[in-house]
Symmetry: C2
Subunit: 697 residues, 2 copies
């Protein structure tokens, strides 16, 4: 399959549906294409007119004399198939279908859309859309879009690429970016994604020399593997990806059948996959643009978490320090060398971090830049912020400082130098051009750097789950706790001895053999939530208590669920001590198997204190999963308590992961709840395995 | 004492230190004062020149022929006292001391500053500063400041007041606000606050007819009561206060002696007091300005939590809905009536919330405004957002929509109508002038309304702790658990029976009387953390176990703390079941007694899942304190468990509050940890009382 290069770089374009009215959709596309300064050949196709906006027009693409690289189709949906066939016959390499009214409307539209796909596939023609807002390529000034955002805002060439499914979302981002003077390399809206999707755009942009940072937005993702691979490719190329995904979807009914499923809403899975693949998920368009701006201007990510803050206002310095600490940045104090160097420039200043220069810095010649130089020379701060109030509003007075800052940045090209000040657009642009970003709001400056640093951390710790699914014999019965535990025990997961007993006497004998106290639980494939019907009795001290428990459980089960098949009563020894954790697996329809780990009993539910990882995992990744959970501190000599066996926990996670990999085709979800981590070893006290519906396999 | 009115409204001003150089500090003040258009009389005071910036100058304020209302002093610190004496002698009502170099520098400066205070107090003259950046009053165009922010940005008259301690912080806020066209009523920087502080400014501004919203920033607060009263006054006047407090201070060593103290860092106390007094604490200057903008433009706060979102982009609608849900706003679906009315305008739209009009809305005459009108007419949404992409960048095309929106707002003046679109400053200003705010970023629009709504909620639930401290006999010995529990039990707090036993036999007999199992704890005024030395033995099943425990505890105590005085061994019955909570009290140096409540054992530490309330509390406020803790869900039939006795918990909180009120003069902190809430009743299992250092009383 061809790449989507041809979509961005046509030499000749037929615009099918070009209109003489520059305000109508088909007219806007042509107008913007010409206003943009595209140097290729444009062929307006219009059934009724010989001249369209001054250009010779053709009744059909077939009538165009020369070759045509690309067709842009913007006629009503009913005519699109014919137009596409003609374009393909003409030999186009790519086609953009901007027309709406296909899969997004109804089943008939879906069928028609599939026809368009089939036509393109057969001819090896790449297709954008349908229902796409088109694209912009600032490298060759090629513009094919009807977005009215271009009426007021001309695109500026820069280093940010933008790939969105929704044209409206793309326009909103383009508009906000353009108003603040941010420049783009390429912009593309994928619409219905019948052929090209956002993932493929990210893949393409990862190779694009003009693009330093990729902004993306997905609404739904049909091919999780492709998105994952594209994100990983960009991350490996050192190219930051900022990807928005609006909509915290309610989890489906089937997924909610288990703890793991209900906690692993689709949204959390996106968070996990984006993080594993080195991408950052902004919460707002503005946050995305702030981070993109830093990446585009500096061309690098912060080398470490350490920041220094130079400020003429103590209060602003503290505000910035608060944000830095809250968002994963550190403010180590100045080294002795840096302190000495700073004091040489500013004898009156206390060499702390934040470094409050006080207003007196203005009385020192080149005070700010010399202090910054002292800091950069004698320290390893990845980023140095300078709060300069409103000096950037006086371009003439600021000129010498600006020149000094640019010289300084050239001396330290790999260090982040971020200005926080009010500035005219021209003053900011001059610094931008030399790799020095400027923010008006101190908080946003810190958050943008924190976001960029998060990207750096993630790019350095990419996780690719190995490709998965081994063929394996089908799982047998896993419908009861006992059956589920049996297959999991065979897979190496630690279980207590246990037995389903069919008489009170057998129960008593079994419990005695294991040692008291004992636990008795009803065993039935039809009773998933045993506790809710009183189907678990704990702390049975002797044989008589077990005998009574056996009878009582059968009575309770019959009363609560008269139709349930009862296998008997499960007897296990009662375990005391240890830390309760929950370990689970959930098969995500988009991204495949996801492991979930939580700790500390109620914390899982009350605080959603759980973390996720794509399966399979290795031991290192399993440890990260444990570390990502707050309550895991309970395992580590919490308040003078013991060190619990984290190695056994990590081993259990790896074993569950391997089991899930083997049986991926059959599994919907697994809950080990609780998995108790002890001072030596770990043991699973309950297990539920849910298989996929037969129809879904 | 006079109010600070005279500071803002002088009719004649002597500028002591006026300079002919319009760029020097004393020259800037004069220049800005004249540029601002102040209509009062200005008397430059300058020892050397007869004319200053074209105005007749005087060698001393004493030489001024007529009366002088206010002196603004901007000469070096050494000369300030003399100048102030002369000004007072001249009969000024108020004085601004912009000069720095007083209490912020050293002890000598502090002493000098106190002299200035004394001079002013004696003469009933109000003083701003020293070390103040001055003030601006847009009502009479009076400006007395040397902030260079005024070089580039002329102040605009509006409805936002700004009161900050730090001039730099004030300048930063002024600058950011001015760049986005926000207008001010009054701006004041209090500097060293020798006389006038931010609290008094808030108090004054609460009465100011020109001010609709008050922005404030404090660095430290000397008089917590005054700040509290000022915030309450503003809230009762329905005037929103947005107050920043940078710096999450580390808690002092004395405070950290108890759980409550260590969890009640100063910063959390500020959060609590601001919330109780109806104020909002923004995290960034931009957030403060976003909310201030909404308040200033609309003149009212959202009437309820319900919002509707009208959008032409599904993705943007979902993004906004996510933020709304995350920040306490609700998106109830359209009523049947509203649905029908909307469908009349937009037959093709699905009448959901967010309401996606799709791009087709543009094909319907006045589609947006008619849909908004349908929504407002047939629903009670406090706020309706309309996402309009970039239409505001085309003023001519947007004119009719703008007119319709203004008419609509006039029809529904109490409903919030918020535009989310890119717009020219003029387009936005036209809507602003009619009470319709506009945001470019969809997320910020939602967060600003969420902030305004938070203010409304807080204003409706103001909490004023009653004035406190009754005289009471001094507390006796509270140095051991037993002693502390005794006085708390006398105050009505629920305790188990317990006895300090001095022999193994007495311990065994006592335990038998209470009933087994029993608990034994070492009792010593010198051992605060019993658990750490193994000084607590639980679950003692019979008399023999208690006897052995007695001996064992004495041995352990002697081994761990050979010097400790040992009172004996405390025997109590062992309690099972119930929910562990922590209840505490901490004496905050600024704001007085603060109650703390937490729940769920480890959650307190792991997740800082605690809440605070100013003491004393009534039952209603005690219930809010319980409700504010996540883990309190454990009390309420959590996962099929019982309902625990919340009434008993609330009663215990009230009893502790009353106890603290009675003994406020002596107390530093109290920990009841755990306080176990049972199905019937509650009981405190351990208690620590810390008294203030004698020197601090």
């Amino acid at each position: 399959m061809q790449t989507i290069h041809s979509l961005f770089f046509p030499e000749s374009v037929a615009l099918i549906g070009a209109s003489s009215d520059p305000e109508r959709i088909g007219g806007r596309v042509l107008r913007f294409m010409r206003e943009g300064g595209f140097q290729g050949t444009i062929y307006p196709i219009n059934k009724g007119e010989a001249l369209v906006q001054g250009l010779p027009a053709y009744k059909s693409i077939s009538d165009v004399p020369g070759p045509v690289d690309q067709a842009v189709i913007i006629i009503p949906a009913a005519g699109v198939e014919t137009a596409l066939r003609e374009a393909v016959a003409k030999g186009v390499k790519s086609v953009q279908i901007l027309t709406a009214g296909f899969a997004e409307i109804d089943e008939a539209g879906k069928a028609l859309q599939q026809k368009l796909v089939d036509i393109c596939r057969a001819a090896e023609v790449r297709m954008l859309g349908p229902n796409s807002l088109g694209l912009l390529n600032l490298s060759n000034q090629y513009s094919a879009t009807f977005s009215t955002a271009l009426n007021g805002l001309r695109p500026v060439k820069g280093h940010i690429a933008l790939a969105t499914q929704s044209g409206a979302f793309g326009s909103a981002t383009y508009g906000m970016a353009s108003l603040r003077g941010l420049g783009f390399s390429k912009i593309i809206a994928t619409g219905n994604e019948a052929d090209v999707d956002v993932a493929e755009c990210i893949d393409y942009l990862a190779d694009d020399a003009e693009t330093r940072v990729i902004c993306a937005a997905v609404e739904s993702c049909k091919d999780g593997t492709r998105l994952r691979q594209a994100l990983l490719k960009a991350a490996r190329a050192g190219k930051p990806v900022l990807i928005m995904k609006a909509g915290r979807t309610e989890v489906g009914a089937s997924a909610a059948a288990t703890h793991t499923g209900s906690l692993a809403g689709n949204d959390t899975v996106y968070d996990t996959v984006f993080a594993e693949c080195g991408a950052y998920r902004p919460q707002s368009i503005e946050e995305m643009l702030d981070i993109a701006y830093v990446c585009a201007v500096t061309g690098h990510l912060p080398a470490n978490d350490d920041v220094a803050i130079l400020t003429g206002s103590g209060g602003i310095g503290i505000l910035m320090a608060d944000h830095a600490s809250d968002h994963g940045l550190a403010l180590p104090p100045l080294s002795a060398g840096a302190s000495a160097a700073v004091r040489e420039v500013l004898p009156f200043a206390v060499a702390a971090n934040p470094l409050d220069t006080t207003a007196q810095v203005t009385a020192v010649a080149s005070g700010v830049t010399r202090t910054l130089e002292a800091l950069l020379t004698h320290s390893a701060y990845g980023t140095v912020f300078a709060y300069l109030a409103h000096v950037g509003l006086s371009p003439t007075r600021f000129q010498s400082t600006s020149d000094e800052l640019i010289a300084l940045k050239q001396k330290f090209p790999e260090r982040g130098l971020v200005m926080v000040m009010l500035a005219t657009p021209e003053v900011a642009a001059a610094l931008d051009a030399h790799g020095i970003p400027t923010f008006a709001d101190p908080s946003r400056a810190v958050l943008a750097i924190a976001g960029a640093r998060q990207l750096a951390r993630r790019q350095a710790a990419l996780y690719t789950p190995s490709s998965g699914q081994r063929s394996a014999p089908a799982l047998g019965d896993v419908s009861t706790e006992a059956a589920a535990k049996k297959v999991l025990a065979e897979a190496g997961l630690p279980m207590l001895p246990e037995k389903v007993c069919t008489s009170a006497e057998e129960a008593a004998t079994t419990a005695a053999r294991y040692g008291f106290p004992a636990v008795a639980k009803i065993s039935s494939p039809d009773i998933a939530h045993k506790t809710e019907i009183g189907g678990v009795l704990l702390n049975l001290q002797d044989a008589e208590a077990v005998r009574q428990a056996h009878g009582e459980l059968l009575r309770r089960a019959r009363a609560a669920a008269p139709q349930a098949r009862i296998d008997g009563v499960l007897i296990t020894p009662m375990l005391k001590g240890g830390v309760e954790t929950i370990l689970g697996l959930h098969m995500d329809p988009t991204f495949g198997p996801m492991l979930m780990f939580g700790s500390g009993g109620t914390a899982v539910e009350l605080f959603k204190d759980v973390a996720f990882a794509s399966a399979p995992v290795d031991a290192a990744r399993a440890r990260q999963l444990v570390d990502a959970v707050q309550s895991s501190r309970l395992l580590r000599q919490w308040r003078g308590g013991p060190q619990y066996d984290e190695a056994a926990l990590v081993d259990a996670i790896c074993k569950l992961s391997a089991f899930a990999e083997t049986h991926a085709a059959q599994l919907q979800s697994i809950d080990l709840n609780p998995l108790v981590v002890r001072e030596k070893g770990a043991v699973c006290l309950d297990a539920v395995i849910t298989l996929r519906e037969a129809s879904a396999i």
